[in-house]
């Protein structure tokens, strides 16, 4: 889809909502925050002249200039670090990384620097940095470009990590991240960029960090998911409801750190069963963390062991049938639900 056809309807600014894609919702959040706060600036590869590798920043350089929307060379460690330093002096950099896979070459700046500043200096210096980057498998991008490292970052004290699964949350969580005084990683998702939804036009539409959402109510089982896994879980829940009369509740985490375990535990107390779904590898992953916390918090509520499902633990292959088989696709999620229900 070209950016020109994606401009959100702005006939009624600041009130009501408009239907737009996830990508447009992100762009709207960026535009609003650039307009609201001079300290906000965007930095990354191809964000300006090229209008964004995935067109999220399309039109922003023309609107705000090359200082506020700053193209960088291919130097992730360099410009993520430059974002860290600028944030330490009170700027509000929003650094775009082309995909989460490329953030690995800047890990030292994220984990050893950004995440440490608050605690290591006793709260004297803050680092209000945002890094936004998509992950997501399923487009035959193969082993080096299909990974979900959400759990690595969510397991790092000092960072905050959000993972919007729909356009409204994409706007609200990105705005919350930009306004937060700590380093926040916003993990977007490639397959969702084109998904449409209703997005509040209110420039103050901010989704607070650390608050999950019950994306679908149900009584038989709780499916805990985030990012694109939420979209899949919702499809599976609708299908199981119509075909087999099973009512699955879907909890969309939205934030991985801080994690809203209260909402998860409340749901499991109601359904007595839990399935955790992620696109990353489950070993030592987000679902491993969830399973441990649910097992402890909901020990007396559970009628079955907590189950989890994620990417098959192999580097993702190219061949379409192999890739599909490896992913936590809807068939595998549905099968896991049925297995938990016994």
């Amino acid at each position: 889809m070209s950016p020109a056809t994606e401009r959100p309807q702005q006939a009624e600014p600041a009130t009501g909502s408009a239907r737009m894609t996830y990508r447009e919702a992100l762009r709207l959040a960026l535009r609003e925050e650039l307009a609201r706060d001079e300290r906000v600036f965007i930095m990354g590869e191809e964000v300006g002249v090229f209008e964004g590798s995935y067109k999220v920043t399309a039109g922003l350089m023309a609107e705000f200039g090359a200082d506020r929307v700053r193209d960088t060379p291919i130097s992730e460690e360099g410009f993520v670090g430059a974002g860290v330093g600028a944030a330490m002096l009170g700027e509000r950099p929003v650094v775009e990384i082309m995909t989460l896979n490329f953030l690995l070459v800047a890990m030292d700046q994220v984990v050893n620097h950004a995440a440490k500043i608050g605690a290591m200096f006793g709260g004297e210096v803050r680092c209000p940095l945002v890094i936004r980057t998509p992950n997501g498998a399923g487009n035959q991008l193969t082993a080096q470009h299909s990974q979900s490292f959400d759990g690595w970052f969510a397991g790092t004290p000092g960072l905050k990590v959000v993972t919007p699964a729909n356009p409204a949350d994409a706007k609200g969580l990105l705005k919350a991240a930009i306004r937060d005084d700590d380093p926040v990683l916003v993990i977007e998702n490639l397959p969702i960029y084109k998904e449409k939804g209703d997005v509040p036009l209110d420039p103050e539409h901010v989704v607070p960090l650390g608050r999950a959402a019950v994306a679908r109510e149900g009584s038989d089982i709780t499916i805990v998911a985030h990012s694109f896994a939420t979209v899949r879980a919702l499809h599976v829940a609708e299908k199981l409801a119509s075909e087999q009369g099973i009512q699955a509740e879907v909890v969309d985490l939205r934030s991985l750190r801080p994690l809203d375990m209260e909402t998860v535990a409340r749901s499991v107390a109601k359904t007595n069963r839990a399935l955790c779904v992620e696109e990353g590898w489950p070993s030592y992953g987000v679902t491993a963390e969830l399973a441990a916390r649910i097992s402890k918090a909901c020990f007396d509520d559970l009628d079955a062991p907590v189950e989890r499902i994620g990417m098959a633990e192999v580097p993702l292959p190219y061949a379409k049938n192999l890739e599909t088989a490896a992913m936590p696709n809807e068939d595998r999620i549905a099968a896991a639900v049925l297995s938990v229900l016994g």
Partner: protein
């Protein structure tokens, strides 16, 4: 060469250099007495570089260093009490007992940290310079690094960005001949490290880092260019460290005692003292400095010993910004044993 500092200024600078030497000697003693833990990297022998560079900086210029940081902090004016208390892991330390030897901090004096990952401070310092430009400030950043750091990718990426974006920053390479135990010519294909700036069309030059006045003049000139013309530069200060890489390293596996002695014959303190005598300083004046410095370091140890330890219930203090406790309040169900008491109740985001 600019005008040499007046005798009174030189006396003051000499006192700072001596303070670093005596402080480091005492730090090693305290480390061996197990009152300082972790890593402890000493600057003995490098005092003229520390004091000269800081002397050339404006009060509002910013400083970032690697982990051999005591000398720079002391030269910048952080009190010996606050530095020693930090080494002791005490509440009154300059990083509140959270940083230790490698992570000193003094934001009031524009010192944005000692950093412990070789080369990691370069991108961050480049970002400080970017922020200064965005904010329209007439200030510059001095980013200190060791000779070993020039072989990191972060060096290449930072120099390229600084040159590309014309940022007001001077990369100060403290070439003390060895990255841990690896001699410079065993690590860098171009052992004249300042020449590597040319790859970025950036000015690079070397200075005798043990010659106080040369360090001051060269640094001042490069900082002026950075501030006024936004021309970044590399300054290679050639010096020598007397002690091992850290206190745990005897420093003799990769060099001889003779080599160390040879350097000590050209000691920066001796050189500066000789200049002072030429300028008319009396033996009494120099002795008075000796006594004052000894007393200050003694006082620093006393202060550090008496400073309280940080409260355990402040364990998570500073990790997140104020108000973050509300964001984390729903994380508690199912927490691992102890997390509630240590982290959530430990000042997280309060």
């Amino acid at each position: 060469m600019a005008i040499a500092p007046a005798k009174t200024d030189l006396l003051e600078l000499y006192e700072q250099m001596l303070l670093i030497r005596v402080f480091e000697t005492e730090a090693e003693r305290q480390y061996k007495a197990a009152r300082i833990g972790g890593y402890c990297h000493l600057s003995s022998g490098q005092e003229a570089t520390c004091v000269g560079v800081i002397e050339a900086m404006h009060a509002n210029d910013l400083l970032v260093t690697g982990y051999r940081a005591h000398g720079f902090a002391l030269a910048r004016g952080t009190s010996p009490e606050a530095v020693m208390a930090e080494l002791f892991g005490k509440r009154d330390g300059c990083a509140h007992g959270r940083g230790g030897s490698m992570h000193l901090l003094d934001t009031e004096r524009g010192y944005y940290g000692g950093w412990g990952i070789v080369g990691g401070q370069l991108p961050l310092a480049t970002g400080l310079a970017l922020a200064l430009v965005r904010q329209g400030k007439q200030q510059a950043v001095v980013c200190e690094l060791g000779d070993g750091a020039v072989n990191m990718g972060a060096w290449h990426e930072s120099l390229n960005l600084a040159a590309l974006w014309k940022l007001p920053i001077v990369f100060l390479v403290v070439n003390n001949k060895y990255g841990m135990g690896t001699a410079v010519d065993r690590a860098s294909a171009e052992p004249q490290l300042h020449k590597r700036a040319s790859a970025y069309r950036m000015h690079g030059e070397a200075v005798d880092g043990d010659e106080l006045e040369a360090v001051i003049d060269t640094t001042a000139r490069l900082l002026d260019r950075a501030r006024d013309a936004r021309e970044p530069a590399v300054l290679e200060a050639i010096t020598y460290r007397y002690r091992g890489h850290s206190v745990a390293d005897a420093g003799l596996a990769y060099r001889t005692r003779e080599e160390i002695s040879e350097h000590q014959e050209h000691d920066p303190l001796l050189r500066t003292a000789a200049r002072l005598r030429e300028a008319g300083a009396s033996t009494d004046e120099l002795r008075a400095i000796d006594e004052r410095v000894e007393e200050r370091v003694e006082q620093a140890v006393k202060f550090a010993s008496e400073s309280p330890e940080p409260d355990v219930d402040s364990l998570a203090w500073g990790m997140h910004s104020q108000g973050s406790d509300v964001q984390f309040e729903r994380m508690r169900p199912g927490s691992p044993f102890g997390e509630q008491e240590l982290v959530f109740d430990g000042g997280l985001g309060k």
